[in-house]
Structure formats: C-alpha cells, structure tokens
C-alpha cells in the first residue's frame, strides 16, 4: 500500500478453530500508519480489535491461522524469525493492554521490571537504567518515583499500574505503540489523564500510535485517522475530522447516535441499534450489518460490499447505500 508508511497491514485475516467451526476474527484488513501518526480503531467487543493488534505483534493464540502481510519498518513481521521478533517487541514495537496486569509481572517490583527492559534492549548499566527508570516514572505522572521502584504492582491502584505499563512500553523509545483499550478498565477522570499522557508522549517522541477503543468519544479529539471495525472487517476509514463531519457507513452513524450525549435532555429516547452482531462462526453471505441496518435492501443480503474509495481518496467505506445517498433516495 502506501509508501513510507511505518506500519502497513496488508490483507490480514485471522482464523481460529472453535468447536462451532472456523471463526474468522479478522477478515482481510488493510491499514497503514505513518511515522508520528495516530490511528484510532473503533468497534464493539468481539469485532476483532484485539486479534488485529495481536496479529501485528505476532502474539496470536497458537492455534490461530494468520494470512496476509504485516510490514513494519521495512520488514514483514509474519516471516520474521522469533528471536528477531522478540528484539523488536519492547524496543521499536510496544504495546499497552486494557488490563495492565497482563504486561506487569506480579512477583517483581516495578523497578526490576523497568530496569530489566532497559538493560535488555538498550544495554544500559545498572545506575543508568535506574536513573532512566526514575525519569520515566516521573514522566508518566507517578509521584515519588524513587520509592515506587521498590513497590509491587498489587500495591498500586489501577490507574497507577496503567501508568507503569505505559512507562515500560515507552522505555525504549518505540517507533509504534499499540494501546488496546488502555483506559476501558479505568474511571473517567483517570481515563482523561491517561489519554492525555499518551497523546503528550506520542507528540513528544514523534511516535506512531494505534489507539484501540470501543468509544468513539475517545478517538474524536485524539487521532489523525479512524478505522471502524464490524464483524472482523474495517467498514469505514477516514481522517478523523472527515469521519465525524460525514459518516457514510450506516453502522458508524448508528454507533454515534446510540451514545448518550451529555447535552441531551433527560428521558429522551436513545436511537438504539436493534439486535446484535452476527455469530462470527456463521458469516453472512451479504453485508454483516444487514440484519441491523435500516437502509438494507435485497442486494445487501446477498452481496458483500467491499471497502472502496468514494468521494475522496482518504474516505473509504463498505456500503452499497452510504448514509446520505440512502436518505436522498428515500426522500
């Protein structure tokens, strides 16, 4: 795809064998992220966001089957030998998970974990690694960093743990940070602080970032581009301002409408989306959103819309009857 992209996900699919049959968790996804850019990936639970990020990181479950290419910094990660991959992860390719305990070791102190990462990847000596750890903890907003080095993860609050996980992820100056629902487990006040922290460090380090979330509100002011996923596929993709100005895919529109708005009057009925996403082991022949879509017609039931360019090169969507057009037809 595009030249000069730091990360280019090319026709990536992930299949998982299950007792109910094959489950296609990610379905032919193409995405790119340029150096220093932020991509938001939005979708509801089960739509494949985590599987996509694990495909990029080459951290899929053993029985998963991956197809396609993941080009990162000129290398195809899918074909990279394991020890090269391990070197890359934690160095130029870092990740922050929803549950910080996923990436923290419960039996090691914060200091040991930070310093180990630094020493492994940057070959710093003990004293330098220690100083750098203190600086990193301070940078992510942890008060009294020297004392925190001696603490264990369970002695910290959820928000503090996530800050530590971010400090470790940032420790080796990665080129790309994948943040998978980094604030979903946190309170709204802490969420705002962590998102600000990520945005600040991303700018300061000119690092690329993929911000995965189920909340359109989280990506709105904090990303350059947004990809909306539904049932394993990217169904709409656009620069963030363009997307919020003119949503073309009925699912994106419905998703935004269903969020309670703080300036709406109490007891106003919410425009809910009826039904729920399809069973991922029983793919539909047509558009996956068809059973819930108010614009669906016969063609949507039988034919799968592909993600294609529409009015501009940047704004892609997978729909036969994009929002405005459908409204015009029915008017």
């Amino acid at each position: 795809m595009s030249e000069g992209a730091l990360l280019s996900i090319e026709d990536v699919s992930v299949d998982l064998p299950t007792p109910r049959g094959n489950l296609r968790a990610v379905d032919r996804v193409d995405l790119t992220v340029g150096a220093g850019r932020t991509l938001g990936v939005v979708g509801e639970s089960g739509c494949g966001k985590t599987m996509l990020s694990r495909a990029v990181l080459q951290l899929l479950p053993k029985k998963a089957k991956l197809s396609g290419r993941v080009m990162f910094d000129g290398k195809d990660l899918v074909r990279l030998p394991p020890e090269k991959l391990r070197k890359l992860r934690g160095r130029s390719l870092a990740v922050v998970f929803q549950d910080p305990m996923t990436s923290l070791n419960p039996v090691l102190t914060i200091g040991t974990q930070l310093m180990e990462t630094l020493q492994e990847h940057l070959e710093l000596d003990m004293a330098a690694a220690r100083q750098r750890s203190v600086d990193l903890l301070a940078a992510v907003g942890i008060p009294a960093p020297e004392q925190r080095l001696m603490q264990y993860p369970h002695q910290l609050s959820g928000g503090m743990r996530q800050r530590v996980a971010i400090a470790i992820a940032l420790s080796c100056e990665p080129k790309l940070l994948i943040a998978d629902e980094p604030t979903t487990a946190l309170d709204v006040t802490i969420q705002a602080q962590i998102l600000d922290l990520l945005a600040r460090e991303q700018r300061r380090r000119h690092m690329a970032m993929i911000l995965i979330t189920h909340d359109l509100g989280v990506v709105a002011g904090r990303t350059d581009e947004v990809a909306v996923m539904y049932a394993g596929r990217v169904v709409e993709r656009a620069p963030t301002p363009a997307l919020f100005k003119k949503m073309r895919m009925p699912y994106t529109e419905a998703l935004l409408a269903a969020i309670p708005k703080i300036d709406a009057a109490p007891h106003a009925s919410l425009p809910a989306i009826s039904g729920r996403p399809p069973d991922p082991t029983r793919p539909l022949p047509g558009c996956s959103f068809a059973p819930r879509c108010r614009y669906a017609d016969a063609r949507c039931q039988t034919e799968k819309p592909s993600l294609s360019e529409a009015e501009s090169r940047d704004h892609l969507y997978a729909c036969f009857h994009p929002v405005e057009t459908a409204a015009e037809v029915s008017a």
Binding site: P143, V188, P266
Partner: protein, 325 residues
C-alpha cells in the same frame, strides 16, 4: 423538579438518613459510606454517580439491608428497614429489587431461565405453578424476550444484553415499587447499552417504578435521571435536578467529572486535564473536605472543616466551602 430549600422531596418513597457503612480489613476500617442522606420521590429516578470505590454499591446494598449499616436509617415508604427483621423485612424487601452490573455473573449458570425468574415468586410464597408460569411469561415478554424460546435455556446461551434483559425480568416479576440499578449497562457494548436504557425507561413507565440508578458514566446517568447525586469517597458532594447540575455544577468534583467525559466531536479538543491525581484511600480519608487533595479551590478551611450540603440554587445542594455557583 424544584424542591425549595430542603434536599428532600416532601413525601419520599426512599429516605436514607445519615447512613454510615464500614468494612473491616486487616484490623483497619474502610469508611465506605460516611453519613449519606438522600431521598427519592415516588416515580422519580435518582441517579447516583462517582468513581469506582466511592461507595455507590455499598450504599445500594445497605439500602436493601444486604449489608448492615453502622448507623443511620433507611426509611422505605415511611418504615425503617434497619429496624426490621425476619418476615417483616422479607415482605418489605420484595418491594425493592436490585439489578447488577455483571448480568452474566448474576445468573446461576446451572438453572434454566424459567426457574431463575420464577425463584422470587417461590420465595414470596406464590404456590400456584400456573400463576407462576404466567407471571414469568409476562415478565419475559415485557423485557422483549420470547418466553417460548427462552424459558428452557441456560444463561450461557445468551449474550450480555440478553442476560441483562433476563435480570430485569427477574427484578420485575414481583411487581416491585422500587428498583436499584447498580451499573446496569457498564458491562454492555454501546449499541446494546442504548437498548437496555430504553427498556428501563419503558419498564419504569409500565410498572410505575421509582429508580435509584447507579453508574460512573455521567452521560448515561443524565439520560435516565430526574435528579442526580454525586458521591466522592463515601460522602455526597452535590445533588440537584439533572439539567441544572450538568449546566451549572456547584461542586468542583462535579465539574471535574463533567470535564473528563470524552466528547465524540473532533472539534471539541479535549481539555488538557488538570493533574488532579487519584482518589485517596477510604481507610484514611482526608480531614475536612474529602475532595481537598484533588481540588483546585482547596484552602486551609477545607482541611479543617467538613462542608455540609447547602442550597446553592433551587433544588440544588452542594457540600463545598467555595462552590462554583
């Protein structure tokens, strides 16, 4: 709704007075709820918001007498639940039901849906199986599930949203007057969340319910509440009519919560949040105003003197020495 100079509606269905609830952990006391008073009028929805661990669920459980209060009263329809025991309490409690945050975990995985929903009827002593079956069917239809398709199945066969519908049916089957909804949509996806919020509003109208709606998401709370109470570290900070409270928050903590909501509009650049840190431990809450360690307006008085709820506008009350309005 306007309520003059008293925070209390004149004839509340629920009247919580100066409730104190504590937990003991390793010889220390967790001050989970420290002197909370609130009232819910008949037919009203009172929203209760606050960060994780501030005591919302504890308050809900103490209202239901599932957790004994250290002191304070819980008047339901004029009668003090804290002074009731045995059958009297059980009878009263049938009028108050609870819906939990995690719908899947709150259903017994080994029981069929029909039996799960019939259980409150059995406990209430309704002996006629035909009547029980009919009421289970009615409750399921009311929440938008087809009784025929649902009754014989097990919880794991349903999605989170469907399980929450089942929980709502279970809460409604006894025809209660009052329902405490403890984060009923927090575990659900955005598209399902709106369905359940609409359903709760529908059920409220249909069954003539009074609701205490607990959540940490302010926009969700505002969507369903007539009045909103804001809680911080075991105490009430502010209570008032929803629109008024969101348009003109008086307590700095309410303002902080509103500011932190992510807005789905890229033109609204998120305000670089003030570095207000995290809530202190409820084992050793700060002296004076409990919010003072994160409050941009705190001064000496805030650490020595505990602010009481005072009227700041008609129907709106804030516990702050330096309110914003």
């Amino acid at each position: 709704m306007m309520h003059g100079t008293q925070p209390a509606p004149s004839d509340p269905l629920l009247d919580v007075q100066n409730l104190v609830v504590e937990y003991g952990v390793g010889g220390k006391i967790v001050h989970a709820v420290s002197g909370v008073s609130l009232q819910v009028a008949r037919g009203e929805t009172l929203g209760l918001v606050g960060e994780s661990g501030c005591g919302k669920s504890t308050l809900g459980r103490a209202v239901l007498q599932l957790r004994q209060a250290v002191s304070g009263k819980v008047l339901f329809d004029g009668q003090d639940l804290t002074a009731m025991h045995g059958d009297t309490l059980r009878k009263m409690r049938q009028r108050v039901q609870l819906i939990f945050q995690d719908p899947i975990a709150s259903l017994n995985p080994r029981r069929r849906i029909g039996d799960i929903i019939a259980e409150p009827l059995v406990i209430a002593g309704i002996k006629d199986p035909a009547e029980r079956r009919q009421r289970v069917r009615d409750a399921l239809s009311a929440v938008g599930l087809d009784p025929q398709l649902v009754i014989g199945r097990l919880p794991h066969e349903f999605s989170g949203g469907q399980c929450q519908r089942i929980c709502i049916a279970r809460a409604l089957v006894l025809n209660p007057d009052f329902v405490i909804c403890d984060e009923p949509v927090s575990a659900l996806d955005v598209s399902i969340r709106a369905q359940i919020l609409n359903l709760l509003e529908e059920m409220k109208a249909r069954y003539g319910l009074t609701l205490l709606f607990i959540a940490h998401d302010l926009a969700v709370v505002k969507a369903v509440s007539d009045r909103v109470a804001v809680m911080y570290l075991g105490r009430l900070c502010e209570v008032g009519p929803s629109e008024q409270l969101f348009a003109h928050p008086a307590h700095p903590y309410t303002a902080l919560l509103i500011e932190a909501i992510p807005v789905p509009d890229p033109d609204v650049r998120p305000a670089e949040s003030v570095p207000v840190g995290e809530p202190p431990s409820p084992i050793a809450p700060p002296s004076g105003c409990r919010f003072r360690t994160r409050c941009p307006r705190a001064d000496a008085r805030c650490s020595s003197e505990m602010p009481e709820l005072r009227a700041v506008a008609p129907g709106q009350f804030a516990a702050c020495h330096h309110p914003l309005i």
